[in-house]
Subunit: 311 residues, 4 copies
Amino acid sequence: MTTPSFRGVYPILATPFRDDERVDDDSLRTLLAFMAGLGVEGVTVLGVLGEANRMSDRERESVVRTAVEVAGGRLSVIVGTSHPGTRATIELGRMAAALGADALMVAPSAEPVPNEARVAEYYGRVCAEAPLPVVLQDHPASTGVHMSVAAIVRIVADNARIACIKAEAVPSAAKIEALSAALTRPVPMLTGLGALYGQFDLEKGSSGYNTGFAFPEVLQAHLAAWRGGDRRFARRIWQHFLPLIVFEQQPGVAVRKEILRRRGLLAAATVRHPGAGLAPGSAQQLTTLLEDTMPGVDITRPLDVAAVIGA
Amino acid sequence: MTTPSFRGVYPILATPFRDDERVDDDSLRTLLAFMAGLGVEGVTVLGVLGEANRMSDRERESVVRTAVEVAGGRLSVIVGTSHPGTRATIELGRMAAALGADALMVAPSAEPVPNEARVAEYYGRVCAEAPLPVVLQDHPASTGVHMSVAAIVRIVADNARIACIKAEAVPSAAKIEALSAALTRPVPMLTGLGALYGQFDLEKGSSGYNTGFAFPEVLQAHLAAWRGGDRRFARRIWQHFLPLIVFEQQPGVAVRKEILRRRGLLAAATVRHPGAGLAPGSAQQLTTLLEDTMPGVDITRPLDVAAVIGA
Amino acid sequence: MTTPSFRGVYPILATPFRDDERVDDDSLRTLLAFMAGLGVEGVTVLGVLGEANRMSDRERESVVRTAVEVAGGRLSVIVGTSHPGTRATIELGRMAAALGADALMVAPSAEPVPNEARVAEYYGRVCAEAPLPVVLQDHPASTGVHMSVAAIVRIVADNARIACIKAEAVPSAAKIEALSAALTRPVPMLTGLGALYGQFDLEKGSSGYNTGFAFPEVLQAHLAAWRGGDRRFARRIWQHFLPLIVFEQQPGVAVRKEILRRRGLLAAATVRHPGAGLAPGSAQQLTTLLEDTMPGVDITRPLDVAAVIGA
Amino acid sequence: MTTPSFRGVYPILATPFRDDERVDDDSLRTLLAFMAGLGVEGVTVLGVLGEANRMSDRERESVVRTAVEVAGGRLSVIVGTSHPGTRATIELGRMAAALGADALMVAPSAEPVPNEARVAEYYGRVCAEAPLPVVLQDHPASTGVHMSVAAIVRIVADNARIACIKAEAVPSAAKIEALSAALTRPVPMLTGLGALYGQFDLEKGSSGYNTGFAFPEVLQAHLAAWRGGDRRFARRIWQHFLPLIVFEQQPGVAVRKEILRRRGLLAAATVRHPGAGLAPGSAQQLTTLLEDTMPGVDITRPLDVAAVIGA
């Protein structure tokens, strides 16, 4: 086990599926090995991009098992264990811990009558039973749950298990700034939302990335430049890839899976039904975009980011 | 296996939990035996009232196993298998069939970009693989998916597996009427929504009940009176229990579980967190309501409905 | 001006429209005169049932003018002034006051990022400028805004102008009870939601009705019986009309307008587009329901409630 | 009157407010004159950015009056007339036409029971009475109404008045492509969403911009380069300003109003309550961003886009 620092780059992984929608364990291994090769600090499996909500419990288990095995201590494995039931969230956490994962990522679920106290209880119960550090995921776009700064501050204060906030509530930079000022116990905050607000979040105190952008080496370079104090270079990196980041903002996970397929990391770009597949016409548009962004580059290999942006 | 007629009363069952939220198999058996004793046509497990969304796959399996065992062919067992993933819905259906269930209940899931064609595909794929008859559940309040009359008509026409519509989209009586006129292949339509619109639905062609009202014998009496042509008596039954039906409309499942506990059918009224438990004050209010509705009656035994309403 | 007590029955009025959707001032006068004749404490115009959101500002003004004129001091006129803009809410309040209204009804609006502090500010600003007492309307079903008990308690404590809570957040009886215990300054709470939970709300401390049920004299009788200490009789009244109350729960305002038309109070049951009109088949069903509820009764005259229920 | 081509750049205008939230007619004139000076094809007033939903009818009227007066035939004036009521939408359209506007922008409103046929009726009625060409705005993020490609195709086919589609349903490029293929009568489609997907939309057939990005001259340059066949240059322009485009994606209108204030076009950046003002810290972040994007440039004058990007 590798206790994560939650500072650095933690890609969110897609779950690879074969053409017939079965979990593609081989591709998952390829994907994990690639991430390990990049030297990222860790990965998160079974998040929104991982289509966890469309999988059976047994399938989730198999993904965690493979992730831990391939990670082999080289990188942290964070497991998404959000579930509409508190007890089920706890059990998924136990499963992940038993299989050797390093941390859990937990988001609340919407209830018919929204209730901030119930959300706090949810985190209280989950943290009380969590065998591992917990990432609090604040992502109203997928959960429908809006947590105020004050509510998050209390939850973090009350639960020592919470080791990180995945800051995905817009405006994210402003919320990171407000949380930084208000938290009674500092915890790292990671940038999500596909890195759309990456530069702005870093400026306000984000400690790195925890998102599914299909070129994590770009995020590594961005963060390294930022940490190294070369703000101008950092910004240049982020801006160079911003059209790609924007293209990935389109709803669903199809675009990212297609890019990962082209990178040779997935055997198929299959999205589980009823998730939307790639729109007709988008494949060709993606080809143009990739060629514009990094002409002539072999994307099946880790990018030489400096070379790509002509630095 | 008992092929259901989907005409009659099919109570939706709560899933009993112990104080510590574990599945309470003993209470489940009690509940099932009670329903069998009432002579209902069948039961549905793992619906919204069954808190299926807060359970693990293994727990779902155990509930189906017990239901089938206790039913013992005396009553049909319908299993809720809705899942955000089409493939997972199919797999839950296979599991239910393998364990001996009699039918499946399936509702669509909301996607970021609503798409009626995708919903039709969902039913198409699920039905193509379904080893059992399928109940199409039309319940926007829980799914967030609104299916037009035209869409449902096409889905029913295209999928012979669909054997019933659980008509829970308000206005339900009007939708039943519109569907009756438009369906190219007639299928029975069952009334849900806690029987709130029971009388009105029957008048427009509902073939019975598939809902969680905690006194199914009342629904049996209502339906029997209606079928027997005694509309006035039918209405009188429904109206006598309407305050209780309304009381159960309050959000969540706590009220119903508390009534079932008082009926001796559940050892505990536990709702799984983060579902809301009984509001303070509601227990006492329920006591008054039950006493008003059936003074002096032992509710742990099947009601003598005629006696209760003084017929 | 008649300062309302907010104890008693305050019908919410439909806005009458002609066949061509123009405001029907004559019918509005008929409606108001009928309410005055019933002896209700007041009326509310321009609420959800009043289709205020589909009207122009000038039309709203004309409705207030007529209401105040016909009321003539005999009954209070409460004016719905909710608006997505705080300043516009304030201006609508000034308009209502200038025309002689007696109170304002105000609900908050949903913003892209929900924010309880902003809702409190909204009430703070509106109350600071309100020339009249304010009814805080808590109706998440129409506003999408969920206010916690704590939030409402603070708003009431901070704004002396708030003179009443329209308690329409389910579970309403439980929320009335919780508010009663928590309010630092008692204010009357009125029951809405079409009287669906009327009996239960009264048991928990509701001070009366502020809703659009098309037979306000029934609510008057219910409340009078309850206040007179005859709980059994109160319950009997409510239950007798409960099927009608339930029938009116169907979405939209078409059912109520049709009943009011049959009562001779509206020249037409027109609902403004794109609001839904009466579903085909519902007119006939309503005829049966009215005949079942009060056989042979002339509904164009105030009901003799005791006679109808055979007391 | 200037019949718009709906090809080119049509900025959506913010409505200027003074510190006390009154409409600031002087700033509105400044803003309009600036746009006229840029040579844009037209402007849209009273859209989402215009905070039309927080304004009174009289205020709306005053904005249209000023817009038409300042435009003086030099540029088209499109007026947002969406309203929850069909009749009110029609009346707002008449008002706009009477005051000399050139076109109307109309989006549908969400109803409790979504109904595609009702949306079609809405456009049918509005178009039948519209004295001016109509822009169909497809923006589910603000309306909550999802229109399928088939539905839009039918609406356009049935209503000759519809002269343009404002394509703001994600994925926008894919939807533009699908509509292009399916429309039985071609109509121009304009890009909105703050130009976030601008490059991608142009590639799929967008005929220009109809959005609130605070530097419309950038969009003019982008479009001109694209039309001139210099795809690479077009892309370079868009990408250069993409960080600013992204920064403006943050919820609400505060960021844009602050930029317009800095450009000398608004006396105050006031957003009407309860809309969110600029988050603390965002002002400083914006300063950095503007300086990064166009170092040393006087933004109160029209940008020399080629110079800014170093072309």
